[in-house]
Point group: C2
């Protein structure tokens, strides 16, 4: 099945009536995505590995000798079946010096079709292309599907890759809750995983390199395919504004402790601070209690997402927003609490690897991004690079997210060229 | 069962872990409240009428002659059973020239215990007191429980009383939807009501008068019991801010059409406008789409509640807020739409009736309120009055809502005195 057929196959899964995707970890839509991936891996004779942290990897293993291709394929299929029956990810072979590619299949709420899936589908299509070219890898080549990259259900982005490198305590990960109070441990157990087994997985890190292809998310590219230089430092902060719930009709203005007012000031302050520090700052999520038309809220919880080219600029932006929130809270008799939920320092991708990609792709644009990725998480332990596919409108995390079919196929070609270089030399 | 026992009995129904109430129409909590009321009516030998609009009335009918009390009571109990079996509210007798009291049992989200239930419990306790005094009414006395007074589930406040007087089109009422898309028609049908039968009910309006006792909701009283002069005009407006959903990390500030920003400006403008026009204005409810930490929202819907002593002040406040919203929307490339969801003009309660209450109660405080009530809806068709019970903190629509036991019992005494005057003269 070629790129276009795979893409069409995946397209309806988890898509809502407005065209946006809700592919949240361990939901029915997520299971359908995983089943789709499993099927695509099987149809190519790739060995499917379910790692213990909820990530999937489809392996194209090194073939023993010329002519053994068909037998190798049968062995791989058998190993998939064994692994599926045993349900034991640790039974998977350790593949040292492997080249890993892939991305993720989960989405933000009402997200687009490309963020994540483009990297997975392109990786499978690139393997087809390499086989058509008669390439015989000297290193194992894996296509990874990382779990909970968006953090949309459990609040911590790149949770699957963070667990692999030990960037999050397994006990904390097990206890992360979704909006309904379901924990990560409960959700993964319901899908047949053992939540007690999650945690650092050094075997995953004994690889040669990781290359993630991803749709670009700004409007930064004038060529179909580019190479990433860096990921901006970024983080999430939670503000809790606590006032006094009351009647909207009978409570005098002077008697009010309305948390919606300092929240509103904070939204505007975030924009001002971002402009001042050449950052971006967004308050896109808010929970109001009780959220009734005729009730002054008792509390408002709101989240700030901030990113900038430097750690200093992010910190300065958040400090300015905090000051404004506290000042407005003080004026309205509203308590303000601030908690840092996550922070990722600047990521500079592996320079030698990046230079190899630039050479193979004949001088593509090289650019930074404000978006976090599993590649950013792994880059602390593994030589890592990213390819970007052009996004003509710059829209992402929304149903309008788009890359042209021509650019997507150019991305597959580029990824195949890069992988051929990496698995054969 | 006396006031305190009835109060304790009702207290746990629909109460959440934080102490706030969620007694929404046609939910399990609402059914429990209705069952409680039915039981209290039966234990007093009152004839329970389920009207066709979802309201309940427990009738103390005029007794035929001295000594016939017990027989009358038996007859009433029989009529309850017949009505319950037939499920046909129109089978209820028409009771012309009756005196009606009562209030409602539904709540706002996380509301207090007193708003509504105090008027119902006090009415039943007042009947006990009148019987203890040996009062024999010359007019039927009814205790009403109006449906969906808060509009918390279906969005239109005082829906039960509005239907009775024909202030809302029955087809529109049937089609009102809750947050899950369930219609008023579906919800009432699930509880055994015929949604096709709802609509104007002139027989309900052929009564002598309606007196509603309610907890006061500001901090306006220095005596335990007061009498209402007027209800401020008030209304609800919905703002829809439509921007462009996008990625929080990669979208340049200049490329953003973030609807959260004009929403925030509108929240602050509502406060400014209320201060300027001696009104109150509240934005207590907001829905953000998709409401993700790392997504610039595509749209924000937010509700404005505005009240003031005069229609002109309400209109001027809303006009100023609208102007600010549109100005901010224009600056951020965000479309702004405004819709009036409900509007209730100033209610001046029936002056002769009010004067009778003031005389009976020996010159209590007489005060207006910013809160809407079923009494305000009925006042257009029936002589209507209200009694207020003191609220020492002024908190309402929140778990901290409170009236002291002494003040509650003073309210029962006052209501009994007023009803004795009204049913005997």
């Amino acid at each position: 099945m070629g790129f276009t057929e795979m893409w069409q196959d995946l397209l309806p899964i988890g898509r809502g009536p407005g065209g946006g995707y809700r592919r949240f970890s361990w939901t029915a839509a997520d299971r359908e995505c995983r089943d789709w991936f499993t099927q695509e891996a099987r149809s190519r004779g790739l060995a499917l590995e379910r790692d213990r942290n909820g990530n999937l990897i489809a392996w194209w293993d090194v073939e023993a000798e010329p002519g053994a291709g068909a037998a190798g394929m049968v062995a791989s299929v058998a190993s998939i079946a064994a692994s599926a029956v045993a349900g034991d990810a640790m039974a998977g072979r350790v593949r040292r010096d492997a080249v890993l590619t892939g991305s993720h299949l989960d989405s933000v709420p009402d997200g687009g079709a490309y963020d994540g899936p483009l990297g997975v589908v392109s990786a499978l299509a690139a393997i087809d292309l390499l086989r058509d070219r008669g390439v015989r890898p000297r290193r194992p080549l894996g296509v990874a599907v990382f779990a909970e990259e968006e953090g949309a259900r459990f609040g911590v982005a790149c949770l699957g890759s963070r667990l692999v490198i030990g960037a999050i305590d397994p006990a904390r990960a097990r206890g992360l809750r979704d909006g309904d109070g379901v924990t990560w441990a409960e959700a993964m157990a319901a899908e047949g995983y053992d939540p007690e087994a999650i945690g650092p997985d050094p075997d995953r890190l004994s690889i040669n390199c990781f290359v993630e292809l991803h749709v670009e998310q700004g409007r930064a590219m004038t060529a179909p395919v580019g190479v990433a230089s860096a990921i901006w430092p970024h983080g999430r902060w939670r503000f809790d504004f606590t006032g006094q719930g009351n009647h909207a009709g009978t409570t005098l203005l002077v008697d009010r402790r309305d948390p919606m007012l300092p929240f509103a000031s904070t939204v505007l302050a975030a924009r001002d601070a971002a402009e001042r520090h050449d950052a971006v700052a967004t308050m896109g999520k808010v929970h109001v209690t009780p959220n009734g038309v005729n009730a002054i809220p008792s509390s408002v919880a709101a989240w700030l997402d901030t990113r900038a080219p430097s750690d200093a600029a992010v910190r300065a932006t958040v400090a300015q927003v905090r000051e404004a929130a506290e000042e407005a809270g003080g004026r309205h008799g509203v308590e303000v609490a601030l908690a840092e939920e996550s922070y990722t320092e600047v990521v500079d991708f592996h320079i030698a690897l990046r230079d190899r990609l630039v050479k193979v792709l004949d001088d593509p644009p090289v650019l930074p991004t404000g978006a976090g990725h599993d590649a950013g998480i792994l880059s602390a332990h593994v030589p890592t690079a990213m390819l970007f596919v052009r996004n003509p409108t710059g829209v992402s995390h929304a149903p309008e997210e788009y890359a042209s079919p021509e650019d997507c196929l150019a991305g597959v070609d580029a990824l195949a060229d890069v992988l051929e270089e990496l698995v054969c030399r």
